[in-house]
């Protein structure tokens, strides 16, 4: 099992916050991984990965949305992908959902009406975003919140969380990687 972590941050100093935190979870659980920025991705990277995690970035960084063409490969990719915050926004945009503005920062309780990568019922999550996307067509929303916080494609293993599981829900990342 080899996980590809894709960085979405424009400013490299943010990696310590949004990428290293996930790398540490994988390291602690002896899960093999390699990391690449989305602008440096090669076809071979996508081929070599068994699963992909698209990491988040800072509150003010929306550069990835301007560069959405770098992510067109997602449309025809069939291996499991987990998009975290900006990662979920990227997946949503690729599947033609509409961008909306809403700031959420800090701890929040979400109610998972169906099990989502090990999370069910009420769970505390950490939010850090200024934007979100409507639910893309052919995706299911797993929380009863107004805005989509946890989504999955109806046919493909494509997952997204608007919240940051690396903060309070580390097991979600392990569930994605190991099962």
């Amino acid at each position: 099992m080899k996980i590809l972590l894709i960085k979405t941050n424009k400013e490299s100093f943010h990696e310590l916050e949004f990428v290293r935190s996930i790398e540490n979870i994988l390291k602690n659980n002896k899960i093999k991984f390699f990391t690449s920025h989305y602008k440096d991705l090669k076809k071979q990277d996508l081929k070599n990965a068994d699963k992909i995690i698209i990491c988040g970035t800072s509150l003010k960084d929306n550069h990835f949305l301007k560069n959405i063409d770098y992510f067109k490969w997602i449309e025809n990719y069939n291996k499991p992908i987990l998009g975290i915050c900006s990662g979920m926004q990227i997946i949503s945009k690729i599947f033609k959902a509409k961008l909306k503005h809403r700031q959420e920062i800090g701890l929040k309780t979400l109610n998972f009406k169906k099990e989502f990568l090990g999370l069910k019922n009420k769970k505390e999550v950490y939010e850090l975003h200024n934007n979100y996307f409507d639910l893309p067509k052919n995706f299911t929303k797993f929380t009863d919140s107004k805005i989509p916080q946890a989504i999955k494609h109806n046919q493909k293993p494509l997952y997204g969380t608007l919240f940051h599981p690396e903060v309070r829900n580390k097991n979600l990342i392990l569930e994605f990687c190991l099962f």
Binding site: F13, H14, L16, S21, N24, K60, Q103, E166
Partner: protein
């Protein structure tokens, strides 16, 4: 990028600032909040007055602000200080030493967003024993200046963070669930020297006060 950092005097704020400089950013000022409330949710207080000496050793301007330390109101004081740093030094972002505290991190994120500043938390979710080892590896001379959790006692005050300390705190973590980096307020630290300083700070006097498992050491620096 021109950055300011929140300086408490302890290991986390200075290590975060060090990482920012290592990443090629320009540290232009430090911001210290002097809280009158020793139980503040936001700011750690032991030895905070000594941050002036640290800033001087880094040849950095120090923007110091007082707060009564009342919950949420102290955030207004922090916002004023950051706003002042933006106006005076034209900073583009703030560096914090937050590791686990969603309370601290989320409030600083909100202030930075309101002021159109980047917020960098380079220690966010960092494994705490790894952080202590990194401090040693990078030449940080850090001492313990207060303790506030069972079974910690005044014998720890003034102790340098070294391999022996890490071994002992690891045992305390296993037995008593003490947070090894002290982020839960179990202990506070003060940095006497680090690669950002031009000179090591020297303690010329100290005063220990406290009771039970809550003790602090006030130091006088040369």
């Amino acid at each position: 990028m021109k950055l300011a950092f929140l300086l408490s005097g302890g290991k986390d704020s200075l290590y975060a600032a060090y990482l920012a400089k290592q990443a090629g950013h320009e540290l232009v000022c430090a911001i210290t909040i002097y809280s009158k409330n020793k139980d503040s949710y936001m700011f750690h207080t032991p030895c905070v007055e000594k941050t002036k000496k640290q800033a001087k050793s880094m040849s950095l301007s120090l923007l110091a602000c007082k707060t009564k330390g009342e919950k949420e109101k102290e955030l207004k004081d922090l916002e004023k200080a950051i706003k002042k740093a933006k106006q005076k030094y034209n900073i583009q972002g703030i560096v914090t030493g937050a590791i686990e505290s969603c309370y601290q991190a989320s409030r600083i994120q909100k202030i930075c967003d309101k002021l159109n500043l980047e917020c960098f938390n380079p220690l966010w979710q960092k494994p705490q024993l790894e952080l202590l080892n990194d401090l040693i590896k990078n030449g940080f001379k850090v001492i313990v200046t207060s303790v506030a959790a069972y079974p910690l006692n005044p014998s720890l005050l003034g102790r340098k963070i070294d391999k022996k300390f890490i071994h002992e705190i690891k045992l305390l973590q296993e037995k008593f669930k003490i947070n090894p980096a002290g982020e839960g307020g179990e202990f506070e630290t003060f940095v006497l020297n680090c690669p950002l300083f031009s000179n090591s700070l020297k303690i010329i006097d100290k005063k220990i006060t406290g009771k039970n498992n809550s003790w602090k050491m006030e130091v006088k620096l040369k």
